[in-house]
Symmetry: C2
Subunit: 131 residues, 2 copies
DNA sequence: ATGATGCGTAACCGTACAGTTACATGAATG
DNA sequence: CATTCATGTAACTGTACGGTTACGCATCAT
C-alpha cells in the first residue's frame, strides 16, 4: 500500500525527522537554511541561545539528515537537505483530505461506516440514557 | 502575509502540535482515529504499551487539540481533530517546492541570490584559496 | 611559533517525557 | 449496595533534551 521512496529507506528515519522538527529552534534553523547555506557561527548569531546550544541542535538535524555539513577552511557550512521532509509530507497527506473536503462531513461518514464493526460498548452505553 | 485560521489563534499552538507529533505512538493513535472515533480502552488495546501510557499520550494529544473527548456512559470517546495539522501542513508547504522542482537546482539558485548580502565570511574564506 | 577564530564536545543542571505499577473515581450491573 | 468495568491520576524511574560554562582542537593570520 505505502509507496516508499528511495531515500526514505527506513521508517526509523521518519522517527528522527519528526523528533527533530519538534523543537522550534531547529525548525527556525531549517527556515534560515532555506535562504541558503550558512556556517555554524552565522547560524548561531541569529538565535538568542548560546553557540554550543545551536551546535547541539545542528547535531540532531545532522542525525535526522535534514542538514548536511562540509568543511570550508575553518568554517563548517551547513546545507539544508529537504529530502526527509517528504516522509512528513506524505504522512500529513493522509490528513489533508479532512480539511479540503467539508471538514467534518467526511470524517462523520468514515466514522459511521466503521461504527458497527469496531464499536461494541458505545451503543449499550447510549441505551442507558432513556432509563 | 501569513493567513491565520480561526482555530489556529496562537503560534504557540503550533509548538504543541509539532511536539505531539514527535512521538510515534501518538502519530499511530491519530492514524487509528482517522478510521473513526474510539474509546480510550479500545485505543489502548491496539498498542503494546500499558493503558495508562496511552492515557498520558491522549492527554498530550488533547493539550495539542489534536483530539477531542466526550463522555459516553463510562467510556471516554476520543475523536480526531485534524485542524491543528493545517499549521504543520503550511509549514512544510514552504519546503515542498524543493522537491517538486529539480531538487537542488532551485536551492542553488536561491543560495546564489542571497549569497552577497547574507554571507560575509565565506567569500573571504574562498579568497584565501587562491592565495 | 604565537595568537586569534570557528566550532565541536564534555560536564553539569533542570525539566519533560515515556513507561511502569498502584490507587481513586464514576458509571453500569447484579 | 457490592462489584465489575472504564479510565484518569499519583508516584516513581530511566532517559533524552535544552540550556549553560569550560575546554580542546583545528585553522588562519602575524
Amino acid at each position: 500500500m505505502r509507496h516508499r521512496s528511495v531515500t526514505d529507506s527506513a521508517p526509523q528515519m521518519t522517527e528522527a525527522t519528526f523528533q527533530a522538527l519538534a523543537d522550534p529552534t531547529r525548525r527556525a534553523v531549517l527556515d534560515l537554511l532555506r535562504r541558503g547555506s550558512q556556517a555554524a557561527g552565522q547560524i548561531a548569531i541569529a538565535f538568542p541561545v548560546s553557540r554550543p546550544a545551536i551546535s547541539k541542535h545542528l547535531r540532531l538535524l545532522r542525525r535526522a539528515h535534514l542538514v548536511s555539513e562540509h568543511r570550508e577552511g575553518r568554517h563548517r557550512v551547513y546545507e539544508l537537505n529537504p529530502e526527509p521532509l517528504r516522509a512528513v509530507d506524505s504522512w500529513i497527506e493522509q490528513y489533508r483530505i479532512f480539511w479540503t473536503n467539508s471538514l467534518n462531513s467526511l470524517k462523520a461518514f468514515v466514522e459511521a461506516e466503521h461504527a458497527r464493526e469496531t464499536q461494541l460498548a458505545s451503543d449499550k452505553a447510549s441505551q442507558r440514557k432513556h432509563k
